[in-house]
Symmetry: C2
Subunit: 334 residues, 2 copies
């Protein structure tokens, strides 16, 4: 596309990621001609402020996309499957945040720091990867470039807001109840999350891994165009508001030189190193929240494996893990 | 020792682990003749109830140990170094919860489910391992017996009460402040722990690992009498009250058969399997808190490595991770 300004639709404008789409578009001063906010019938009629102008949310229909250049979808897999084809037919490029199209061979799956060139090969739909996957891939990219990553063992510490705004409210309510000596209640999650951790709430597969873990495996391989990368994941929900953390234990192709790895991470886009051994100061979700950069620290050699590299990373799962990455994909198109 | 009842001293009786010593001794109906509660001058004179009888805490001195058979120490490394030799000289056997003597070649380091026979070779002092290490070793023991563990990649989710009762109060105070819209303050920990996770607060070593991580490496090898076990740890503090969790990604000697592994874990002492894929119900610190057993679940094969086994475990770090394990060591002696 080659225009001065673009007609943009936000599908799922009233949701957690939808509102992040708007703040990212505003912050990055994305060249918007007309903005259309779409949501379910229930939310239609609501007013949302964008750049000091009120926009009325319209009901999402197959007729919503005439004259739209780019449609940013974050309305779940079912709505994506139902409405993305209509958007494409109307001439829009869809960037979808759900898992509906991510593994389709026709659909590019993009982390702009890793595979921006894939944006050229879209057939109307581009998929935004899973949040935990994006955050990991940003940190892997500069390492993989100088010393290819063969195997990754990953344990995550995932914030409740990754399960939506209601899950965040549930955590706060549970924390309040516990502090007041009352019994906490779980309804969004199956288990109480306050003062607890549990295995990720996505569906379990027959192989003993949950969907979140399998997304990390399949999506990472697709993003790096390398089906030989071996990934062994454990995804865990922790009682924090925002930003996902990941302990990464990697095996690379060649022996690890920490200085070279650190320099590569320093120069890479989208990353910020926090690795202060003296003050025991490393990446923390409180620091990563509401930030564009993925934080990287605890950069150290494995104790026994000369090709082993361990790091600890944190990233805002609603920004780089969702809305920011989608808008960066849109920026590749214009 | 071969008596009907034993004279027991608790050193650090007013501390977090000290009070757990007392509740474990009471619950297990340990055959006590006389009980002596020792603490610093500051705490001397306090009264503690044990089996419906009041005991007055006495000041710890080098003269405290006459006629004592077993002294359970949980008063930190410095006090252990100062007073354990006096206790041994007076004829007591010391079971010390600090890290002061753990790696001494003269001192057995014991997890009764793994190396109970080591209790025979003491020279007056037996060391109780690090909490995170004990919890891991209980789960490793039955696996290692049928299919030796060659490599362990471990990421932990450690409760704040592992850093003491004041750290727990700090978390609660921070949670309260955040819910009320006030700024949380950190003083026990360097960083705010409420709604946050951070790299373990123990001192960093020159190799980029913290002390807690290095304890897991060295102590596990000593407990299993196997210096070839390779361990790659990441220790992380999470905002929960009690019980440590660990994601373990292991490489065994032979190909993994999940059914055989699960049966071995089922039969093993000190373990309880919670592995309900259908209901997404696995080990959680809320379930492990105040329980003797270490919970094990997410028992699954690595996706790519035929010899790879992944599990998720939770254990009460004040019980099996400290007081219970020490009392079990005492039970080996009588």
């Amino acid at each position: 596309m080659n225009k001065d300004k673009y007609n943009i639709a936000i599908v799922g404008a009233t949701g957690a990621v939808g509102s992040e789409f708007l703040s990212v578009l505003e912050k990055r001063n994305f060249p918007i001609a007309n903005l259309k906010l779409l949501a379910s019938k229930r939310s239609a009629g609501k007013t949302i402020l964008f750049k000091n102008k009120d926009y009325i949310v319209e009901e999402l229909t197959t007729e919503s996309f005439s004259n739209i250049d780019i449609a940013l979808f974050s309305a779940g897999g079912d709505r994506a499957k139902e409405f993305a084809p209509a958007a494409v037919k109307a001439g829009a490029i869809v960037i979808d945040n759900s898992s509906a199209f991510r593994m389709d061979s026709d659909v590019p799956l993009i982390v702009p720091e890793v595979n921006p060139e894939a944006a050229k090969n879209h057939k109307g739909i581009i998929a935004n990867p899973n949040c935990t996957t994006i955050i990991m891939c940003v940190a892997l990219a500069p390492i993989h470039k100088i010393n290819p990553v063969k195997r990754i063992i990953m344990a995550s510490y995932q914030a409740v807001s990754g399960a939506g705004a209601m899950a965040l409210e549930e955590l706060k309510e549970q924390q309040k109840n516990i502090l007041e000596g009352n019994q906490p209640q779980a309804s969004i999650f199956k288990h109480v999350i306050a003062n607890n951790v549990f295995s990720h709430d996505s569906d379990m597969q027959d192989n003993g891994y949950n969907q979140e873990e399998m997304k990390m495996v399949h999506e990472t391989r697709k993003i790096f165009s390398d089906n030989t990368i071996s990934i062994s994941p454990t995804c865990i929900r922790v009682p924090i508001y925002r930003a996902h953390s990941e302990a990464l234990h990697m095996e690379l192709t060649h022996p690890v030189h920490i200085k070279t790895i650190t320099e590569a991470l320093q120069k890479a886009p989208g990353l910020k190193i926090i690795d202060d051994n003296q003050n025991n100061y490393f990446p923390m979700p409180l620091d990563a929240s509401f930030q564009d950069d993925v934080l990287v620290g605890r950069i150290r050699k494995d104790l026994d494996n000369d090709k082993g590299l361990n790091i600890f990373i944190c990233g805002d799962q609603l920004l780089k893990g969702a809305a920011l990455n989608a808008v960066q994909i849109a920026e590749l198109l214009i």
